[in-house]
Assembly symmetry: C2
Homo-oligomer: 414 residues x 2
């Protein structure tokens, strides 16, 4: 239902909640260390619940510890949901995840106070263990539970950095791991996640927010090039089979290729292990990773085809046997066109200057896409930093993002 | 004095001594583990002395444990010396070092038996701790002592992999470390070292031996390229400062450059350390070594000038601050022209097919050059292997090298 006045967002409430949540697990000055099911997470979850109850919302915790704060709708039916995760890196900052959970609560509280009961139910969601920072095999744990991607035996199989299983950690905070499959939901009409950008694109463009039209597709491969270990002095160049030479050529070629493709293609070689790694020894082997991402399904395929062809050609020409393993491959997650339309008109109506851009990082939304149309809002990050105490987004930008979120939720639920 | 018949070398004696010495410290099948001043070294040194005494040579041990086996000359004066080291890698093979000590003894024994007393003194030399395999700071220990490059405090400063000082190890085998400077000699007329090639050049050329006209010049540098650590997904290529991109370009360029220069230039990037070395993180820094060698003094300078210019240019263009440290730089050691002439005519007279080539590895000869004209003889290595139990040179090739050595010693001493 069209309305005659804007949703008003209180920047002071955004600021108050960001700082209060950031104080729970505060670490290294402006950092936060709040891993899932830890005492800090318990306190943060209770705080989120308290805020939601004080806002007059119905609060419940699901079987894995996600918190749902609901404003019922007159017509019932599937819910329009917004939120993000409240666990952090070790340490992360105050904004990654928390900003989206808080924005959802601020927006729904404002909608309730300013426009009363919606047509459809509205829910604010605080997800758990997006980062995989306590249980490396449990990234997107909360959202995976919601979309039914936790199998009955998983909680006993997933172990943390300190050796405990996630089942043990769940029991310690009063959750029954056997009931994890009950967290599944199939009554979500739309999911919108606000998140900090974690990159420098909005800052470089001088804009506070972005509408995210896709979460990029990603592939991680690990490649080993084998050569012949020999004496660095006694082997002439023409008689070598030097895997470092092959690696350097491949790394140069693939990185240059992504540069030439331009945004949004990215290719990163972040990890290199040389055997035996001695200054006067031609290596026996060089093992390296290739992280390559593109949000367009066809362009992504073409990118990987180039990578595979370059690897094969260099390996054959230089006689360096190649071993290549794909450790991870996720298709792009495209935002729902209708949600994008809704968000674009909301931005236009409120004259919110914005970019439309893909996300180069992974997010809970790509899990949620299995059960609902999804889209995201990005808020400008200072220097593109995240996963560090130095990450920062201004309250003005966060309030602008929350405004865009609230207007979009209004259009979807009222 | 010209002679009317060739020096005859007994391949069976070469074989017998190679295998007997190789049995002392035998390790991993065909390997040898015989570090300086160890019980194995003590036994090998005593064995070398016994052989020398049985050959009728005067034997003495100097202040650091080098063994000198002398055949006096009629005219006295400076000695013509040949030998190499009897310590090994951990484990090395039977040939690296041992071949040269044995060849010297076989040659001088044959000369004595077949031609009697020489004009000048002839000495066979078994050097100690060339490899630095027990005391990493003591490479070329025996030859450094002979040329006066051991300072009075050095034995107490040099520590082994197990924490002991070389002074302690010397005392355990009855040597007084305080007397190390007494090992110095200034009465050496020429030094010729026979050694296995440790590279594939002779094998590729189908030749048994080489006359070595230079020991290559070498420089080891360690370079750190610093960039900006960031998220592999969220940072567009055009906003990155990626030290891996800079490293790959530099490594490709320098390795390709050495290929284009061709023999004897070599450039090796053997060690790479990436920080933080994660698959989804643009690195903060990449640290790597460059080992670059050329036996020609001017060409070596030109090689390093290219390296320095490429490093500077890539660092500036890519905005990756550069830290470069030179860890080692040795000028080439040129063989003495007169010794080369002598060896070339010896090879011609005996129709010994050979290459003239530089050594890409370091050898005791480059130390000995400080007090005497030097030259070397290389013997073909199977697959260019060394520093491994698999290293192998045939007895036929070793006998051919010993023949060339004996004929050269005759020309110099008789």
């Amino acid at each position: 239902m069209p309305k005659d006045r804007p949703v008003l967002i209180d920047p002071e409430l955004v600021e108050k909640w960001i700082f209060e949540l950031g104080a729970i697990g505060a670490h290294s000055g402006t950092g936060v260390w709040r891993t899932v099911y830890s005492p800090e997470w318990v306190e943060a979850a209770a705080t989120f619940e308290k805020w939601a109850r004080e806002a007059g919302l119905d609060v419940r915790r699901d079987a894995v510890g996600n918190i749902w704060a609901r404003l019922d709708g007159r017509d019932g039916g599937s819910a329009v949901v917004s939120g993000s995760h409240i666990d952090t890196q070790r340490p992360g900052g105050r904004y990654d995840g928390a900003a989206g959970a808080i924005a959802a609560l601020v927006a729904i509280k404002a909608l309730k106070e300013q426009f009363g009961k919606p047509r459809r139910p509205l829910e604010a969601l605080a997800l758990c263990e997006e980062e995989g920072s306590r249980f490396p095999g449990a990234g997107f744990w909360g959202s995976r539970a919601i979309v039914g991607r936790i199998a009955p035996g998983d909680p006993d199989r997933v172990t943390g950095y300190d050796g405990e299983t996630i089942a043990e950690a769940m029991r310690e905070v009063g959750l029954d791991p056997g009931r994890a499959p009950e967290a599944r939901r199939d009554d979500i009409a739309a999911f919108i996640e606000l998140h900090i950008e974690q990159g420098p694109v909005l800052e470089a463009a001088g804009l506070p927010v972005a509408i995210v039209d896709a979460i990029t597709g990603i592939r991680h491969v690990e490649v080993t090039l084998a050569g012949e270990q020999n004496h660095a002095g006694a082997f002439p160049m023409d008689l070598r089979r030097d895997p470092m030479a092959g690696f350097a050529e491949i790394a140069s070629t693939l990185i240059d290729h992504a540069h030439r493709l331009g945004r949004p293609a990215v290719t990163t070689i972040g990890r290199v292990d040389v055997d035996p790694n001695g200054p006067a020894v031609i290596p026996r082997s060089v093992t390296f990773t290739i992280d390559a991402r593109h949000p367009d399904p066809e362009a992504r395929k073409a990118l990987y085809a180039v990578h595979d062809a370059v690897l094969r050609e260099v390996s054959e020409r230089r006689r360096l046997p190649l071993d290549m393993r794909v450790h991870m491959s996720h298709d792009p997650c495209l935002s729902d066109p209708h949600l994008l339309d809704v968000m674009r008109s909301a931005a236009a109506e409120r004259s919110i200057p914005h970019l439309v851009m893909p996300s180069g990082a992974g997010h809970d939304s790509q899990q949620m896409a299995a059960v609902a149309p999804v889209a995201m809002i990005f808020v400008r990050s200072k220097d593109g930093r995240s996963h560090t105490p130095e990450e920062f987004s201004s309250i003005a930008d966060l309030a602008k993002g929350t405004e865009l979120l609230a207007e979009s939720l209004y259009k979807l639920a009222y």
